[in-house]
Protein backbone atom coordinates (compact mmCIF):
# COMPACT_ATOMS: atom_id res chain seq x y z
CA UNK A 1 0.00 0.00 0.00
CA UNK A 2 2.91 2.35 0.55
CA UNK A 3 4.61 1.69 -2.78
CA UNK A 4 2.51 4.09 -4.86
CA UNK A 5 4.76 5.24 -7.68
CA UNK A 6 2.67 7.49 -9.92
CA UNK A 7 1.24 10.91 -9.30
CA UNK A 8 -2.31 9.56 -9.07
CA UNK A 9 -1.55 7.13 -6.28
CA UNK A 10 0.48 9.82 -4.50
CA UNK A 11 -2.57 12.09 -4.60
CA UNK A 12 -4.74 9.26 -3.31
CA UNK A 13 -2.25 8.62 -0.54
CA UNK A 14 -2.52 12.28 0.46
CA UNK A 15 -6.30 12.10 0.54
CA UNK A 16 -6.31 9.03 2.79
CA UNK A 17 -2.88 8.66 4.40
CA UNK A 18 -2.04 4.96 4.73
CA UNK A 19 -1.21 3.93 8.26
CA UNK A 20 2.08 2.13 8.59
CA UNK A 21 2.00 -1.60 9.18
CA UNK A 22 4.56 -3.62 11.07
CA UNK A 23 4.75 -5.98 8.11
CA UNK A 24 5.54 -3.07 5.81
CA UNK A 25 8.17 -1.81 8.24
CA UNK A 26 9.93 -5.18 8.32
CA UNK A 27 9.88 -5.28 4.51
CA UNK A 28 11.36 -1.78 4.47
CA UNK A 29 14.24 -2.89 6.70
CA UNK A 30 15.24 -5.88 4.56
CA UNK A 31 14.42 -4.87 0.99
CA UNK A 32 14.93 -1.50 -0.72
CA UNK A 33 11.64 0.13 -1.72
CA UNK A 34 10.92 2.71 -4.37
CA UNK A 35 10.25 6.07 -2.77
CA UNK A 36 7.08 7.85 -3.79
CA UNK A 37 8.85 11.21 -3.68
CA UNK A 38 12.30 10.81 -5.15
CA UNK A 39 11.12 9.08 -8.29
CA UNK A 40 13.43 6.28 -9.39
CA UNK A 41 15.49 6.31 -6.19
CA UNK A 42 15.16 3.42 -3.78
CA UNK A 43 15.06 3.80 0.00
CA UNK A 44 15.40 1.37 2.88
CA UNK A 45 16.96 -2.07 2.67
CA UNK A 46 19.62 -3.65 4.79
CA UNK A 47 22.51 -1.71 3.28
CA UNK A 48 21.08 1.69 4.22
CA UNK A 49 19.90 0.38 7.60
CA UNK A 50 23.42 -0.81 8.45
CA UNK A 51 24.96 2.46 7.28
CA UNK A 52 22.63 4.62 9.39
CA UNK A 53 22.95 2.30 12.41
CA UNK A 54 26.73 2.55 12.27
CA UNK A 55 26.56 6.35 12.07
CA UNK A 56 24.24 6.47 15.06
CA UNK A 57 26.56 4.18 17.05
CA UNK A 58 29.59 6.21 15.98
CA UNK A 59 28.18 9.56 17.08
CA UNK A 60 26.82 7.99 20.29
CA UNK A 61 30.17 6.50 21.29
CA UNK A 62 32.11 9.64 20.34
CA UNK A 63 29.77 11.79 22.44
CA UNK A 64 29.89 9.32 25.34
CA UNK A 65 33.69 9.25 25.23
CA UNK A 66 33.84 13.05 25.23
CA UNK A 67 31.34 13.27 28.09
CA UNK A 68 33.30 10.70 30.10
CA UNK A 69 36.59 12.50 29.42
CA UNK A 70 35.16 15.76 30.77
CA UNK A 71 32.81 14.59 33.54
CA UNK A 72 34.64 11.64 35.06
CA UNK A 73 37.82 13.41 36.25
CA UNK A 74 35.84 16.38 37.61
CA UNK A 75 33.23 14.21 39.33
CA UNK A 76 35.82 11.86 40.87
CA UNK A 77 38.03 14.74 42.00
CA UNK A 78 35.16 16.69 43.60
CA UNK A 79 33.84 13.51 45.22
CA UNK A 80 37.28 12.66 46.59
CA UNK A 81 37.77 16.17 47.94
CA UNK A 82 34.16 16.25 49.16
CA UNK A 83 33.66 19.76 47.81
CA UNK A 84 31.51 21.26 45.09
CA UNK A 85 28.33 19.38 45.93
CA UNK A 86 26.24 22.31 44.74
CA UNK A 87 27.98 22.26 41.35
CA UNK A 88 27.91 18.48 40.93
CA UNK A 89 24.32 17.90 42.00
CA UNK A 90 22.92 21.16 40.65
CA UNK A 91 24.43 20.46 37.24
CA UNK A 92 22.74 17.06 37.20
CA UNK A 93 19.37 18.63 37.93
CA UNK A 94 19.81 21.46 35.43
CA UNK A 95 20.97 19.03 32.74
CA UNK A 96 17.65 17.24 32.75
CA UNK A 97 15.85 20.46 31.86
CA UNK A 98 17.79 21.01 28.60
CA UNK A 99 15.35 20.44 25.72
CA UNK A 100 17.14 18.02 23.37
CA UNK A 101 15.62 19.49 20.21
CA UNK A 102 16.54 23.06 21.14
CA UNK A 103 20.12 22.02 21.96
CA UNK A 104 20.68 20.24 18.63
CA UNK A 105 18.98 23.05 16.71
CA UNK A 106 20.93 25.76 18.51
CA UNK A 107 24.29 24.04 17.98
CA UNK A 108 23.49 23.60 14.29
CA UNK A 109 22.38 27.22 13.89
CA UNK A 110 25.16 28.76 16.00
CA UNK A 111 28.26 26.74 15.08
CA UNK A 112 27.10 24.72 12.09
CA UNK A 113 26.13 21.19 11.10
CA UNK A 114 28.35 18.12 11.05
CA UNK A 115 29.64 15.21 13.08
CA UNK A 116 31.87 17.25 15.40
CA UNK A 117 29.13 19.70 16.38
CA UNK A 118 26.58 16.97 16.96
CA UNK A 119 29.12 15.10 19.07
CA UNK A 120 29.64 18.19 21.23
CA UNK A 121 25.89 18.77 21.59
CA UNK A 122 25.28 15.15 22.61
CA UNK A 123 28.23 15.21 25.02
CA UNK A 124 26.66 18.24 26.73
CA UNK A 125 23.64 16.01 27.45
CA UNK A 126 25.85 13.21 28.77
CA UNK A 127 28.06 15.25 31.11
CA UNK A 128 25.54 16.08 33.92
CA UNK A 129 24.43 12.53 34.82
CA UNK A 130 28.00 11.17 34.71
CA UNK A 131 29.42 14.03 36.76
CA UNK A 132 26.68 13.87 39.39
CA UNK A 133 26.84 10.10 39.77
CA UNK A 134 30.65 10.03 39.87
CA UNK A 135 30.52 12.63 42.64
CA UNK A 136 27.79 10.89 44.62
CA UNK A 137 29.36 7.45 44.10
CA UNK A 138 32.74 8.50 45.50
CA UNK A 139 31.23 10.71 48.18
CA UNK A 140 29.10 7.93 49.68
CA UNK A 141 32.05 5.56 50.12
CA UNK A 142 32.38 4.71 53.81
CA UNK A 143 34.91 7.16 55.34
CA UNK A 144 36.26 4.34 57.50
CA UNK A 145 37.38 2.45 54.35
CA UNK A 146 39.13 5.57 53.09
CA UNK A 147 40.85 6.14 56.44
CA UNK A 148 41.94 2.51 56.51
CA UNK A 149 43.41 2.86 53.02
CA UNK A 150 45.31 6.00 54.08
CA UNK A 151 46.52 4.18 57.19
CA UNK A 152 47.94 1.44 54.97
CA UNK A 153 50.09 4.12 53.35
CA UNK A 154 48.20 4.65 50.10
CA UNK A 155 48.66 7.95 48.31
CA UNK A 156 45.57 10.06 47.57
CA UNK A 157 45.59 8.84 43.96
CA UNK A 158 45.79 5.23 45.12
CA UNK A 159 42.92 5.77 47.56
CA UNK A 160 40.81 7.09 44.69
CA UNK A 161 41.86 4.39 42.21
CA UNK A 162 41.94 1.30 44.47
CA UNK A 163 39.24 2.06 47.05
CA UNK A 164 36.83 4.83 46.13
CA UNK A 165 36.48 4.13 42.40
CA UNK A 166 35.71 0.37 42.73
CA UNK A 167 33.17 1.09 45.47
CA UNK A 168 31.59 3.82 43.35
CA UNK A 169 31.15 1.62 40.25
CA UNK A 170 27.42 0.80 40.71
CA UNK A 171 26.42 4.45 41.19
CA UNK A 172 28.81 5.66 38.50
CA UNK A 173 27.51 3.13 35.98
CA UNK A 174 23.93 4.22 36.68
CA UNK A 175 25.00 7.67 35.53
CA UNK A 176 26.82 6.31 32.46
CA UNK A 177 23.74 4.28 31.50
CA UNK A 178 21.45 7.29 31.91
CA UNK A 179 23.81 9.39 29.81
CA UNK A 180 23.97 6.72 27.11
CA UNK A 181 20.19 6.38 26.90
CA UNK A 182 19.82 10.13 26.53
CA UNK A 183 22.65 10.40 23.98
CA UNK A 184 21.49 7.56 21.73
CA UNK A 185 17.91 8.86 21.92
CA UNK A 186 18.97 12.36 20.96
CA UNK A 187 21.28 11.03 18.22
CA UNK A 188 17.99 10.09 16.56
CA UNK A 189 17.36 13.76 15.73
CA UNK A 190 20.96 14.29 14.56
CA UNK A 191 19.81 14.37 10.89
CA UNK A 192 18.49 17.88 11.73
CA UNK A 193 22.17 18.85 12.13
CA UNK A 194 23.35 17.00 9.05
CA UNK A 195 24.44 13.67 10.58
CA UNK A 196 22.38 10.87 9.04
CA UNK A 197 21.41 8.41 11.76
CA UNK A 198 18.47 6.01 11.92
CA UNK A 199 16.36 9.01 12.85
CA UNK A 200 16.46 10.03 9.20
CA UNK A 201 13.80 7.35 8.56
CA UNK A 202 11.64 8.94 11.23
CA UNK A 203 12.17 12.62 10.50
CA UNK A 204 11.99 12.50 6.69
CA UNK A 205 8.62 10.87 6.42
CA UNK A 206 8.02 12.35 2.98
CA UNK A 207 11.04 10.45 1.64
CA UNK A 208 10.69 7.12 3.42
CA UNK A 209 6.93 6.86 3.84
CA UNK A 210 5.03 5.63 6.88
CA UNK A 211 6.58 2.16 6.69
CA UNK A 212 10.03 3.76 6.76
CA UNK A 213 9.06 5.86 9.78
CA UNK A 214 7.87 2.79 11.65
CA UNK A 215 10.97 0.85 10.59
CA UNK A 216 13.13 3.68 11.95
CA UNK A 217 11.24 3.66 15.24
CA UNK A 218 11.69 -0.11 15.60
CA UNK A 219 15.41 0.07 14.80
CA UNK A 220 16.07 2.99 17.17
CA UNK A 221 14.20 1.23 19.99
CA UNK A 222 16.17 -2.01 19.42
CA UNK A 223 19.47 -0.11 19.27
CA UNK A 224 18.77 1.68 22.56
CA UNK A 225 17.73 -1.57 24.26
CA UNK A 226 20.83 -3.37 22.96
CA UNK A 227 23.09 -0.58 24.27
CA UNK A 228 21.36 -0.60 27.66
CA UNK A 229 21.69 -4.40 27.93
CA UNK A 230 25.40 -4.33 27.08
CA UNK A 231 26.04 -1.56 29.61
CA UNK A 232 24.16 -3.52 32.27
CA UNK A 233 26.45 -6.46 31.45
CA UNK A 234 29.50 -4.21 31.60
CA UNK A 235 28.37 -2.90 34.98
CA UNK A 236 28.13 -6.47 36.29
CA UNK A 237 31.63 -7.22 34.98
CA UNK A 238 33.11 -4.04 36.51
CA UNK A 239 31.50 -4.41 39.92
CA UNK A 240 33.96 -6.02 42.32
CA UNK A 241 33.08 -9.46 43.67
CA UNK A 242 33.06 -8.18 47.23
CA UNK A 243 30.32 -5.66 46.45
CA UNK A 244 28.14 -8.29 44.76
CA UNK A 245 28.34 -10.51 47.84
CA UNK A 246 27.34 -7.66 50.13
CA UNK A 247 24.37 -6.79 47.92
CA UNK A 248 23.16 -10.39 47.76
Amino acid sequence: MAEGGGAVSAALALAAPPLASFQGAVEFIFTPQSSSVTGGKTVGGLEQVVELTLTQLEVTFLALALALAVALPIGLYLGHRGTGELLAVGLGNAGRAIPELALIAFMAAAIGVGLLNVTIALAILGIPPILTNAFVGVRQVDRASVDAARGMGMSELEVLRKVELPLAVPTLMTGVRGATINIVATATIAPLAGVLTLGDFIINRNVYGDDGVLAGAILVALLALALELSLAGLQRALTSKGLKVSIA
Partner: protein
Protein backbone atom coordinates in the same frame (compact mmCIF):
# COMPACT_ATOMS: atom_id res chain seq x y z
CA UNK B 1 23.23 9.97 1.02
CA UNK B 2 25.65 12.85 1.63
CA UNK B 3 23.64 15.02 -0.75
CA UNK B 4 20.56 14.48 1.38
CA UNK B 5 22.56 15.43 4.45
CA UNK B 6 23.50 18.76 2.96
CA UNK B 7 20.01 19.39 1.64
CA UNK B 8 18.19 18.75 4.87
CA UNK B 9 18.80 21.92 6.91
CA UNK B 10 18.09 23.97 3.78
CA UNK B 11 14.86 22.09 3.24
CA UNK B 12 13.87 22.83 6.80
CA UNK B 13 14.57 26.51 6.25
CA UNK B 14 12.54 26.47 3.05
CA UNK B 15 9.49 25.21 4.89
CA UNK B 16 9.35 28.42 6.87
CA UNK B 17 6.92 30.02 4.46
CA UNK B 18 4.44 27.16 4.94
CA UNK B 19 4.28 27.01 8.66
CA UNK B 20 4.41 28.74 11.94
CA UNK B 21 5.95 32.04 10.85
CA UNK B 22 4.10 32.20 7.57
CA UNK B 23 3.47 35.92 7.66
CA UNK B 24 6.57 36.85 9.57
CA UNK B 25 9.38 35.14 7.74
CA UNK B 26 10.22 38.35 5.88
CA UNK B 27 10.60 40.21 9.19
CA UNK B 28 13.29 37.82 10.34
CA UNK B 29 15.59 38.45 7.41
CA UNK B 30 17.11 41.73 8.64
CA UNK B 31 17.80 40.08 11.98
CA UNK B 32 19.20 36.88 10.47
CA UNK B 33 21.43 38.91 8.14
CA UNK B 34 23.19 40.44 11.16
CA UNK B 35 23.87 36.89 12.44
CA UNK B 36 23.10 38.15 15.93
CA UNK B 37 22.73 35.58 18.70
CA UNK B 38 19.48 37.17 19.87
CA UNK B 39 17.36 39.88 18.26
CA UNK B 40 15.43 41.66 20.98
CA UNK B 41 13.30 43.66 18.60
CA UNK B 42 12.09 40.56 16.77
CA UNK B 43 11.53 38.76 20.05
CA UNK B 44 9.42 41.64 21.40
CA UNK B 45 7.25 41.73 18.28
CA UNK B 46 6.75 37.97 18.02
CA UNK B 47 6.65 36.65 21.56
CA UNK B 48 2.87 36.29 21.26
CA UNK B 49 3.35 33.55 18.66
CA UNK B 50 4.77 31.28 21.36
CA UNK B 51 1.83 31.43 23.75
CA UNK B 52 -0.22 28.68 22.09
CA UNK B 53 2.70 26.21 21.72
CA UNK B 54 3.71 26.90 25.33
CA UNK B 55 0.20 26.16 26.62
CA UNK B 56 0.09 22.97 24.52
CA UNK B 57 3.44 22.03 25.99
CA UNK B 58 2.27 22.51 29.58
CA UNK B 59 -0.91 20.52 28.91
CA UNK B 60 0.99 17.68 27.26
CA UNK B 61 3.43 17.41 30.18
CA UNK B 62 0.71 17.69 32.83
CA UNK B 63 -1.46 14.99 31.26
CA UNK B 64 1.49 12.65 30.65
CA UNK B 65 2.86 12.99 34.18
CA UNK B 66 -0.56 12.56 35.81
CA UNK B 67 -1.23 9.41 33.76
CA UNK B 68 2.30 8.12 34.42
CA UNK B 69 2.02 8.83 38.13
CA UNK B 70 -1.37 7.12 38.46
CA UNK B 71 -0.08 3.96 36.78
CA UNK B 72 3.32 3.92 38.52
CA UNK B 73 1.75 4.59 41.92
CA UNK B 74 -0.76 1.76 41.49
CA UNK B 75 2.02 -0.59 40.36
CA UNK B 76 4.12 0.40 43.40
CA UNK B 77 1.28 -0.41 45.79
CA UNK B 78 0.78 -3.78 44.08
CA UNK B 79 4.49 -4.55 44.25
CA UNK B 80 4.66 -3.35 47.85
CA UNK B 81 2.15 -6.02 48.79
CA UNK B 82 3.39 -8.74 46.41
CA UNK B 83 7.18 -9.00 46.43
CA UNK B 84 7.22 -11.43 43.49
CA UNK B 85 5.99 -8.62 41.20
CA UNK B 86 9.08 -6.47 41.81
CA UNK B 87 11.62 -7.96 39.35
CA UNK B 88 9.19 -8.15 36.37
CA UNK B 89 7.86 -4.63 37.05
CA UNK B 90 11.38 -3.20 37.32
CA UNK B 91 12.31 -4.92 34.06
CA UNK B 92 9.18 -3.86 32.18
CA UNK B 93 9.33 -0.22 33.26
CA UNK B 94 13.07 -0.29 32.48
CA UNK B 95 12.36 -1.30 28.88
CA UNK B 96 9.76 1.48 28.52
CA UNK B 97 12.26 3.96 29.99
CA UNK B 98 15.03 2.89 27.61
CA UNK B 99 13.06 3.18 24.36
CA UNK B 100 13.75 6.69 23.03
CA UNK B 101 10.60 8.81 23.10
CA UNK B 102 10.78 9.77 19.45
CA UNK B 103 10.91 6.07 18.51
CA UNK B 104 8.11 5.29 20.94
CA UNK B 105 5.86 7.93 19.34
CA UNK B 106 6.15 6.27 15.96
CA UNK B 107 5.94 2.70 17.27
CA UNK B 108 2.40 3.77 18.18
CA UNK B 109 1.74 5.10 14.67
CA UNK B 110 -0.09 1.94 13.45
CA UNK B 111 -2.06 1.76 16.70
CA UNK B 112 -3.04 5.23 17.87
CA UNK B 113 -1.91 7.23 14.81
CA UNK B 114 -0.93 10.89 14.75
CA UNK B 115 -1.98 13.17 17.57
CA UNK B 116 -1.76 13.77 21.27
CA UNK B 117 -2.74 10.23 22.31
CA UNK B 118 0.46 8.70 20.99
CA UNK B 119 2.56 11.43 22.60
CA UNK B 120 0.87 11.02 25.98
CA UNK B 121 1.27 7.22 25.93
CA UNK B 122 4.98 7.42 25.08
CA UNK B 123 5.78 10.25 27.51
CA UNK B 124 3.88 8.68 30.41
CA UNK B 125 5.50 5.30 29.70
CA UNK B 126 8.87 7.04 30.05
CA UNK B 127 7.99 8.38 33.53
CA UNK B 128 6.88 5.00 34.95
CA UNK B 129 10.30 3.70 35.95
CA UNK B 130 11.42 6.91 37.66
CA UNK B 131 8.24 7.23 39.74
CA UNK B 132 7.95 3.49 40.45
CA UNK B 133 11.56 3.22 41.61
CA UNK B 134 11.39 6.23 43.90
CA UNK B 135 8.08 5.16 45.42
CA UNK B 136 9.47 1.69 46.16
CA UNK B 137 12.64 3.20 47.68
CA UNK B 138 10.56 5.55 49.80
CA UNK B 139 8.34 2.74 51.08
CA UNK B 140 11.35 0.51 51.75
CA UNK B 141 13.06 3.26 53.76
CA UNK B 142 10.24 3.51 56.30
CA UNK B 143 11.72 2.20 59.53
CA UNK B 144 10.22 -1.14 60.73
CA UNK B 145 9.98 0.22 64.27
CA UNK B 146 7.61 2.95 63.08
CA UNK B 147 5.39 0.33 61.48
CA UNK B 148 5.55 -1.74 64.68
CA UNK B 149 4.47 1.26 66.71
CA UNK B 150 1.53 1.83 64.32
CA UNK B 151 0.57 -1.82 64.62
CA UNK B 152 0.77 -1.53 68.39
CA UNK B 153 -1.64 1.39 68.27
CA UNK B 154 -4.12 -0.91 66.56
CA UNK B 155 -3.86 0.31 62.95
CA UNK B 156 -4.74 -2.17 60.21
CA UNK B 157 -2.25 -2.90 57.41
CA UNK B 158 -4.24 -0.63 55.08
CA UNK B 159 -4.25 2.20 57.62
CA UNK B 160 -0.51 1.75 58.14
CA UNK B 161 0.06 2.06 54.39
CA UNK B 162 -2.01 5.23 53.92
CA UNK B 163 -1.41 6.98 57.26
CA UNK B 164 2.18 6.01 58.06
CA UNK B 165 4.17 4.55 55.19
CA UNK B 166 3.00 6.75 52.32
CA UNK B 167 3.29 10.05 54.25
CA UNK B 168 6.82 9.09 55.34
CA UNK B 169 7.70 8.10 51.76
CA UNK B 170 6.34 11.36 50.33
CA UNK B 171 9.70 13.13 49.95
CA UNK B 172 11.09 10.22 47.89
CA UNK B 173 7.91 9.98 45.83
CA UNK B 174 7.92 13.71 45.08
CA UNK B 175 11.64 13.56 44.24
CA UNK B 176 10.80 10.94 41.58
CA UNK B 177 7.89 13.02 40.36
CA UNK B 178 10.14 16.06 39.98
CA UNK B 179 12.76 14.17 37.97
CA UNK B 180 10.05 12.64 35.78
CA UNK B 181 8.34 16.00 35.21
CA UNK B 182 11.48 17.95 34.33
CA UNK B 183 12.63 15.21 31.92
CA UNK B 184 9.18 15.10 30.33
CA UNK B 185 9.19 18.87 29.72
CA UNK B 186 12.44 18.45 27.79
CA UNK B 187 11.25 15.37 25.88
CA UNK B 188 7.92 16.98 24.99
CA UNK B 189 9.79 19.25 22.56
CA UNK B 190 9.86 16.17 20.29
CA UNK B 191 6.11 15.52 20.52
CA UNK B 192 5.29 17.71 17.52
CA UNK B 193 6.83 15.00 15.29
CA UNK B 194 3.76 12.86 16.03
CA UNK B 195 1.43 15.84 15.68
CA UNK B 196 0.98 16.72 19.35
CA UNK B 197 2.21 20.33 19.13
CA UNK B 198 4.21 21.91 21.91
CA UNK B 199 7.29 24.12 21.84
CA UNK B 200 9.14 21.80 19.46
CA UNK B 201 6.89 23.01 16.66
CA UNK B 202 8.17 26.60 16.51
CA UNK B 203 11.76 25.33 16.97
CA UNK B 204 11.45 22.97 14.02
CA UNK B 205 9.58 25.34 11.73
CA UNK B 206 12.31 27.95 11.95
CA UNK B 207 15.24 25.78 12.88
CA UNK B 208 18.02 27.98 11.48
CA UNK B 209 16.94 31.14 13.34
CA UNK B 210 18.81 31.40 16.64
CA UNK B 211 16.49 33.91 18.28
CA UNK B 212 13.58 31.55 17.70
CA UNK B 213 15.43 28.57 19.17
CA UNK B 214 16.50 30.54 22.24
CA UNK B 215 12.95 31.78 22.91
CA UNK B 216 11.29 28.38 22.48
CA UNK B 217 14.07 26.45 24.26
CA UNK B 218 14.15 29.05 27.03
CA UNK B 219 10.39 28.79 27.48
CA UNK B 220 10.69 24.99 27.75
CA UNK B 221 13.35 25.34 30.45
CA UNK B 222 11.26 27.95 32.28
CA UNK B 223 8.29 25.57 32.24
CA UNK B 224 10.52 22.83 33.68
CA UNK B 225 11.72 25.12 36.49
CA UNK B 226 8.14 26.23 37.22
CA UNK B 227 6.85 22.64 37.44
CA UNK B 228 9.80 21.74 39.67
CA UNK B 229 9.15 24.66 42.02
CA UNK B 230 5.42 23.87 42.25
CA UNK B 231 6.11 20.22 43.13
CA UNK B 232 8.70 21.21 45.73
CA UNK B 233 6.25 23.65 47.35
CA UNK B 234 3.49 21.03 47.29
CA UNK B 235 5.80 18.57 49.03
CA UNK B 236 6.68 21.11 51.73
CA UNK B 237 3.00 21.70 52.40
CA UNK B 238 2.21 17.98 52.42
CA UNK B 239 4.96 17.12 54.91
CA UNK B 240 4.82 19.83 57.60
CA UNK B 241 6.53 17.55 60.16
CA UNK B 242 9.77 17.74 58.16
CA UNK B 243 9.88 21.51 58.56
CA UNK B 244 9.23 21.11 62.27
CA UNK B 245 12.07 18.59 62.55
CA UNK B 246 14.45 20.86 60.64
CA UNK B 247 13.95 23.80 62.98
Amino acid sequence: MSAAAAALPLAAAGEVGEGFFRERSADTRPCQATDALFCFGWARDNIGEYVTPAIEHVELVAISVVVGFAIAFALSLLAHRNAWLRPPLLGATGVLYTIPSIAFFFLLLPITGFGRDSAVIALSAYTLQIIYRNTMTGLANVSPSVKDAARGMGLTERQILWRVELPLATPEIVAGLRIATVSTVALATLAFFIGAGGLGEPIYEFITFKTNIIIAGGLAMAIAVAFDAILLLAQRRATPWRRAAAQ
